[in-house]
Symmetry: D3
Subunit: 239 residues, 6 copies
């Protein structure tokens, strides 16, 4: 299948890194390409950024439709523009939150999210209620690193480990979800360190979860429900 | 106080009508002005339209902040851009859904929403979960008129009456909320007709609820919580 | 409009103070008067007190109806007699809890209540479930002062500040609600101290919220739903 | 054990009938007596009636405490005064709703309540949320007979049967609860008729459930939790 | 009535102790006998053990039906095989969890469970959701003793006391439930020690709650709903 | 990867058909084998059947562990033995319900399940609460065919279509899930017929969802959380 990754920020710096990561998760027979936004923000850490990013994301959805892709991954944990996108394209579209959280639900009782900054907490709380799964969320922890600070890999991993360990030992988390799609290439190391510490607890990588979700949904032949995601009526739109 | 109404669509046709309506609800000492969007869509009937409208709405929020307004009403029942707006301005900001629904909660057990098209149902269902009030929503009915079709006032009132009556007699609604801010100037007639039919049931006008909500909040001296609506970190944004 | 305040305790000592406070919150064109109870208790700090106060409150509701008031505020955070009152009068009736909590919901994600004594905690927990908003309540804290001890203003403010600060820093509260209508004239000072401490968090005064709620509801022309608050059938009643 | 039944209405007409009924449910070694109210209403069919009945009920609770009874049954389905009563007496106190509903939960998935008048529906809906069991309530049906009309036994049974049958066949009820403690001596006949109609569905009699609940709780040696039902602080009370 | 106790483990060592305990809770006129399993496990501390125990439990249910017992208590807090059993027998069947938890709900706001090992926590969390009462569960604590280690009575009581006290003082529990039916004969001592420590908090013994529940249900003449617990269609079964 | 399918019934008749179906859903590089039970029942249509099937399923789990499989699919919609299985094997284990329902959640607002017999309704209702997703379940419909009657493919498809259509047109379902893993090879035809009828609504095949779920989870390197699914302590077990 053909997966189009939309990196919902401006600038192409991340594209190669993201494609490499996504290909690492993809199965045989899946081709991946990625685009960033022509209009949007340098990173998404608030509902304000999400709102500004959405039109640029939807531009890319329209292109993806024209290009006949089989699935779209908007690589941000806040699922920006995802529900709007489902209204205008007939293939599975996911962000980082929904597939990672739903996947985690079948591996443990309480889900613990470890994310970047306190700024995104309310967004994640209201997403859990929106999706109707808030009674499975045990903890949302932050590592106090801005998205653009995730370049410092060692600090990121160390803080993810500390926060994960504390959430587990406080009995607030049975399965963990990385709360930012920018936390690339650390999930295995994090699981190993937790296992060494005596906690055999799974950690879900949102990028990996999104890609396998899209591959699975594609194989199932399913698509956004038109009674939920109705096609927007034709009208003047200028943006 | 000074209330800025943002009509989240392109084109100025509705402005006079909206200002007139809003002033009808406003209390003494409240001044009202209204703006529409420089970029956006002709109407909002889907999450797609909401997403395209948000940046234009946020442009207007930035202006409102500069103008030092005391409260902002984004006149659409889907609360487009409202949560993002709260991150960047220090005064109360509401859309049509939240104040009308919360107001209705203190007047009856089950809330019935009567809205325009089936397209918006899922949006309203997920809003009710997002706000954590879904166990109080008894019914969401549609009158099958597009927003731009609401010009036909008599048809609108007749269908609102039919749907409201049926929801009440099915025991699905104890208090009604008009599910579109374009349903202007009909709430009193609707309540009268329901009363004549033997149903003394209140109907909440979302425009009226929003204006009185802003006036009340302003007098209470409250503002968006900065632990929920944190100011977006500075970064490059081009849209 | 004409608002009747019912101070649901025996004795007139509080009346002047309450009227002054309420007038401070009321808008232009609102006239306020207040009555206490002919039968009831010296204060309300338990369901037992609430039950003993209710008949005296309903006596005053009957009077208010005769006097043709436009709204009634039963000034107690436990909403004593409020639902019964709505069955016998056609204008908005609120206590302290419902308008303050519903108002708070549009200003932050998690609501923190700071109240007087542990005695009222279960009452507040079950009210939050009764109203269907318990998933938005993040914390209920007590300052361990009896209602009649609130006279010691400085101690009250200091303890409110301590408890509020701790609830915020524990990430249990994004918006605060004063959990007793006897906590008069402190909300602004409390918000200032929290802001100075780096927490720009709104605090809702239940008296102010009730008055603005009544003014808003009055302007909206709404009233208790008769399918929820049905008029009690005629029968012998002797109390 | 010694059970005190409080018939929360004025007038003694029902006492003998109630005592007879209660003794029919009571186990060996249980003695039963009953009192009605010195002040209150002729029946309870609204929150207004409940509020007027509460003080008279609490008078009887104080007496019951002096008399050293082992349990108290306030024989009304709305649980009037029950929570307040638990604050002032150290033995189990129940009304009709709580024991019947909790008992029903272990016999079927969805609980259907069949009660007297629409007036009490909202009261029952909010009780189910207050107790946190609303997701188990499948239907609340009414037979449109006032409490005082239950004397017409045949009409009552016929309507109970019709409503029960319809709730079951609509898949809204797997276990039924009689929603009024005045529906005396009909539960067995109702179960028989439903069984004859091919529906082997249990029906819970609220009086029977209350008595067996009190006997069970007494044998378990439990009492109202003082961290939930704290003793009301001493103060002036005149009612 | 005739109660059959099914001790859902292999080996008869516990039978005499259990019968003695059960008879201590039973009312006059109740006869009790007990059986253990012919196939199963030495104790139940996981869903794995529950699954292995279920067929042996159902063997005993079939026998109980033949023997015409009036009620069955499967003495394990995880309610193993209970729902399956209700499909094949017409009398009340309970385990340890459901009657104890439902009983506790009428004595305090937040229920605290004190159980044996962390292994059973997820099982108890998902049971509370299955039964729809999770919003009443305030805390689940463990004493870190395996079921077979409960022989050391003093250690068990001391740890139950420590955990109960901590749950109460953390405001996480208003009423306690012993989370293992093997915690025999300690509930009174535990309540006494908590009372001495100034906490007048009830503790529910699951064995006592189950027996009184069965006696009450038997007297109510109720049975498992056949629209919830439908008789399994006939088919080949070999196990 | 190597997927072991456990057909949780006795008899090998279904094995070839199931393997063929599963291989149809599996991706490249996935090998599939299947086993049925040595002890169990001819089909699973009740909690009784589930309980009798569980030990035979766990026998096969032990074998699967020895064989070093990478994932296990217990092909029954009631998820029999699945949670117990996760306690004793380190690879993903799913039944039919969990992956299908969680997959459906990202394609539409309200999930509609169409299953075989009314017998399984309560089981499905309580599963939805156990998993904490009941607020997303809009309808559970039955086609009134026993599992063993699904051989009559045309009748099955016709009834699935009727029930699905009705659920959609009643606004009770936005996305459908086939509620029995025996409904093989019909999902595409069902989606086509619904599309022809003007309803572009996805239908999730539980077998397909389980296989793609296992493949995805395997690639994510995750496993059952040991803080939820703790290894059962060693003890005597004879069954």
């Amino acid at each position: 299948m053909h997966i189009r990754v939309i990196v919902p920020v401006i600038g192409d710096d991340l594209l190669d890194r993201v494609i490499e990561e996504v290909q690492g998760w993809a199965g045989p027979g899946t081709t991946v390409d990625a685009v960033s936004l022509k209009r949007g923000t340098a990173s998404i850490e608030s509902e304000y950024d999400e709102a500004l990013a959405a039109p640029g994301i939807l531009d890319r959805i329209v292109e993806a439709k024209v290009d006949g892709v089989d699935g779209v991954f908007v690589t941000c944990f806040g699922d920006p523009g995802v529900h709007a996108a489902r209204e205008i394209i007939d293939v599975p579209v996911v962000g980082g939150y929904e597939p990672a959280m739903l996947t985690a639900m079948s591996f443990g009782e309480k889900i613990g999210i470890v994310t970047v900054l306190p700024n995104v907490l309310p967004m994640l709380h209201s997403l859990s209620r929106r999706y109707g799964i808030d009674n499975r969320v045990g903890a949302i922890r932050v590592i106090d690193l801005p998205v653009l600070g995730l370049e410092d890999r060692q600090t990121m991993v160390d803080r993810l480990y500390e926060q994960s360990l504390d959430a587990i030992e406080s009995n607030d988390a049975d399965v963990l979800v990385l709360g930012c799609t920018g936390m690339l290439g650390v999930v295995q190391e994090l699981m190993n360190r937790l296992t060494e510490a005596g906690h055999r607890v799974p950690v879900v990588d949102p990028t990996g979860a999104a890609i396998t979700w899209l591959e699975g949904s594609h194989r199932l032949g399913i698509f956004p429900s038109r009674s939920t995601y109705m096609p927007p009526p034709a009208k003047e739109r200028s943006i």
